[in-house]
């Protein structure tokens, strides 16, 4: 066989690269961390205890000890930035540990074309119903549903003037894919899993246009099923 290739240079680059990639993949071990699996679950040590520790008095003054706003923003926006994984719709319910009314907020979501722009909708997550920030506020975070980022990409943007920009719309997402998943933050107590699909009011609150102007009107009675953290007086 005079034309038999003997070196890499004799083979087309694309075919060789694909073959070599398959070889690498077969010999290696994959350790992918998706946005969902990276979140702490019960049983994990380390961050779990730190996150579930009830907030103490003065935590807000101790820098980064109980910075709920920064914590939620950093951790979850970072988790949601996963560009190839499914994006998640997240509702944030927060209120004082001693106050029963809970206001639902929309954290926003990151579609594939908004990979590095996790948006924060609504007021600060650790405000109580009256809007005042409280260091003892409990932040409740629930992953409501997930949708494929590719689905989000199929929706053309109506707000951007760029012709090729796609914009994920919450309102167009079907709400049937709810996750039996719960995430816990300081002062939060897990009540029951899995979560049931939220009522229509929550879905309405998740709508992007409605959440542009968050108000206590969007509070959902279903979230009140959550028990207050230990030590609270409610």
């Amino acid at each position: 066989m005079p034309n038999a290739p003997r070196t890499v240079k004799d083979v087309p680059a694309q075919e060789f690269v694909i073959a070599l990639a398959q070889y690498f993949r077969s010999t290696g071990k994959v350790r992918l961390a998706s946005a969902i699996t990276r979140l702490p679950v019960r049983g994990e040590k380390g961050d779990w205890e730190r996150w579930t520790r009830p907030p103490r008095r003065g935590d807000a003054r101790r820098r980064r000890a109980c910075d709920l706003d920064g914590l939620t923003r950093n951790v979850f926006i970072r988790a949601l930035r996963s560009p190839r994984c499914d994006s998640a719709r997240i509702a944030v319910a927060c209120g004082r540990a001693s106050a029963s009314p809970i206001v639902a907020y929309v954290l926003g979501f990151a579609g594939q074309d908004r990979v590095f722009r996790g948006r924060w909708r609504g007021r600060a997550p650790c405000t109580d119903r009256r809007g005042s920030r409280s260091p003892t506020a409990s932040v409740y975070l629930v992953v409501m549903s997930v949708f494929l980022a590719s689905d989000a990409r199929s929706v053309p943007s109506s707000r951007s003037r760029a012709p090729n920009t796609l914009h994920p719309r919450v309102g167009s997402m079907l709400p049937e894919t709810f996750l039996p998943f719960l995430c816990v933050f300081p002062g939060m107590d897990v009540v029951s899993c899995p979560l049931v699909p939220p009522p229509a009011s929550i879905v309405l609150a998740m709508n992007e246009r409605a959440s542009d102007h968050p108000s206590p009107r969007h509070a959902s009675p279903s979230i009140r099923r959550w028990r207050s953290p230990p030590g609270s007086t409610s």
Binding site: A4, P5, R6, T7, V8, K9, D10, V11, A13, E15, F16, V17, I18, A19, L20, A21, Q22, Y23, F24, R25, T27, G28, K29, V30, R31, L32, A33, S34, R78, R81, S82, P83, R84, C85, Q112, D113, V115
Partner: protein, 114 residues
Amino acid sequence: MEVPTWVDIVKTASYKELAPYDPDWFYIRAASMARKLYVSGNMGVGAFRKNYGGARNDGVCRFHHAIGSGSVARAILKQLEAVGVVEKGPKGRRITPSGQRDLDRIAGRVAVSA
């Protein structure tokens, strides 16, 4: 080869607008870098950044070349070094004799399958 945990949250260059769609993009890039080292040899992170750069979309302005991610290139070079495909040379990385043998063997397999 061990894939880093951050492969699903990174773009491959700062000028990119999206992350790669292919879930195995890390392997593909590693294979491509290994081939480049085989063909050219003596390439470092800077050279790979230039190689895997591209045209930055500046909107209404002209496209300009922008370099690729150095972190990705560095991580892949470390991985290739760990599996014995490349080694450090006087001017960047170069392919090892065993790596060259492996790549030739895979090339022969590609030719046979084709």
